[in-house]
Symmetry: C2
Subunit: 344 residues, 2 copies
């Protein structure tokens, strides 16, 4: 582990002051004779000089890193969001510090604090159960925060929301319009606001279509530990099994997200139920995989990649001190594919 070459080493070798070297190598507009400039550049090259950003950061209080905290990138929805953020960040010479909270509130706090200690000035977070006190404290200390997907009701946090309720409404209404009357709703635990909203949309649509909400058709899973993505799939299977025990089967199943819908489809197939001939299925999220299964899943689109890009832009705006005082609500869109059939 040899000592790295510093600006002082180059200065010494070139017989100039480190100030001059800094001026050349940091490409400042400060005038330096082209003679010295060339000499220094050559020496830097020759001696494999690579600047130490830590020194620079300490002095200038600037950095080009933002933090991103999501439940888990094993969920394609979030990995798509992260990719969107990174794409724009890269173009602006920014870096992403990625953190998977794994639905663990303590983990979330730890990451948040670590990021702050490392002088990160801005964070994009999809927070399940945030720590009000910590968050408020960091914000008071100057941290800029964009909340995506899951709302955080604290001042000075910008939100990128998604109209889950309308999404739930659209999916359900679509099924009703296709003639379905017995529409089941299969969902992960409703501890998150987003899931609560989807359910409300479901209810709205049923009511509007003159269909009573039947408790037996609404299946809610227990909270699970560990890998959320895998858990949702399993939950879809489990709840579908319960549904299949009903004396009168539903003709359509609405799942709270695509992953759960995959579970539903998997279980139905295993029981020989044809989709969509016997039972229709609709999902939520429109992750990439939803078009890769057979038959391709009809679902509600949530623009994850765009959400990521937007979040980055808003964060930059905030960090530049801009008055980005507006929350944004993204709109759902129905993506018709092949898992929903009309009822004659």
């Amino acid at each position: 582990m040899k000592k790295r070459v510093t600006i002082h080493d180059i200065a010494r070798i070139a017989g100039v002051s480190s100030a001059t070297v800094s001026r050349v190598l940091s490409k400042s507009s400060y005038p330096v004779s082209s003679e010295l400039r060339q000499k220094i550049e050559q020496l830097a090259e020759e001696y494999d000089y690579i600047p130490n950003m830590v020194g620079k950061q300490l002095k200038t209080h600037t950095n080009t890193t933002i933090g991103v905290i999501v439940p888990t990138i094993s969920n394609p929805f979030y990995s798509s969001v992260v990719l969107g953020i990174e794409e724009v960040a890269r173009r602006n010479n920014y870096h992403v510090f990625l953190c998977n909270s794994l639905q663990n509130p303590k983990q979330e706090d730890e990451y948040l604090e670590k990021l702050f200690e490392n002088q990160v000035k801005g964070v994009i977070i999809s927070s399940i159960s945030f720590n009000r006190k910590l968050m408020a404290r960091l914000i008071k200390l100057g941290l800029k925060v964009i909340a995506i997907d899951q709302p955080i009701d604290l001042p000075d946090i910008l939100q990128i929301k998604f109209d889950y309720r309308k999404g739930g409404y659209m999916a359900t209404k679509y099924l009703a319009d296709q003639g379905h009357r017995r529409i089941a709703y299969v969902t992960a635990p409703m501890d998150r606001p987003s899931r609560q909203s989807i359910f409300e949309g479901y209810r709205d649509a049923l009511l509007e279509s003159g269909i009573a909400v039947e408790d037996g058709l609404v299946k809610v899973s227990e909270p699970t530990e560990g890998d959320e993505t895998r858990g949702e799939f399993e939950n879809g299977k489990l709840l579908t099994r319960q549904l299949l025990e009903l004396s009168e089967l539903p003709t359509a199943i609405f799942a709270c997200n695509d992953m759960t819908a995959f579970g539903v489809i998997s279980e139905l197939s295993a029981h020989g139920v044809k989709i969509p001939e016997h039972i229709s299925v609709i999902g939520f999220d429109n992750i990439d995989f939803s078009q890769m299964i057979a038959p391709p899943l009809t679902t509600i689109n949530q623009p994850s990649y765009e959400m990521g890009k937007l979040a980055y832009s808003m964060l930059m705006e905030l960090m530049k001190g801009g008055q980005a005082e507006m929350d944004i609500v993204l709109q759902p869109k129905l993506v018709e594919r092949s898992t929903v059939a009309a009822i004659k």
Copy 2:
């Protein structure tokens, strides 16, 4: 943007020197009277003191960050690797700096250099086409590197390999043992060593089973731009379409990875071909999704999560100056599910 509280502020308020504050707050074993200790801790709490790691890092030349460069986390294989790395890193109070190279060599170089500038001491990388010169230079300067998945033939780089050839062999042999004689191989461009190896395994198995390698049954796609994950799915579809035009159809299709296999299945289904009754399909990777589709995919397991955990451990070993002079080769395993049927 108020100025943050520093160790000196606390020292001034407490009427002690910053040295003492540092000793208390960094929990060093240096003795400080419990009286002062308590006072300082209380003050730190009261004034919301949060240490500045940049200062610490500059002085101590230590940090707790490692870099991870993968093609893209939208590929579940890599997101699983990353999750594995992060899991162990977290337990050791380390952080992950994530970079998606998006199969772009220039991007890869930029990230590598940025990481080094930020004083990252260790990197785990799955490199498509690495820059020999840059990599060698950084290693000479003390960077520790673990290559996963894709080999890098440079000294001082530790490798975690996977026996792709054996995997390709196992998949093909399995099909042959089930009575298949017309076994197609569908693959992304063979520019990566890994893919080349799988093909060799395919060939080995055919030869061993007394089956001639038929050019018409080996379909190789063109290199694609952009989102690799999505591209592989589309390639699977495209190549399958070509296969279906053959006068004599294959009875089994072996895809170079699960994503491609999904494309194969999707296209077959669209043409009304039943899986596995008409045509058997086998994948490669065993990503989580492979068990979530209907019917669940028979495939070759590549232990991505473990690979991540292992990579982290080896990197730490290297960084501690340990003599982890051994490359590791992970072994494939056949995962039997429902997309392969025996031929009578």
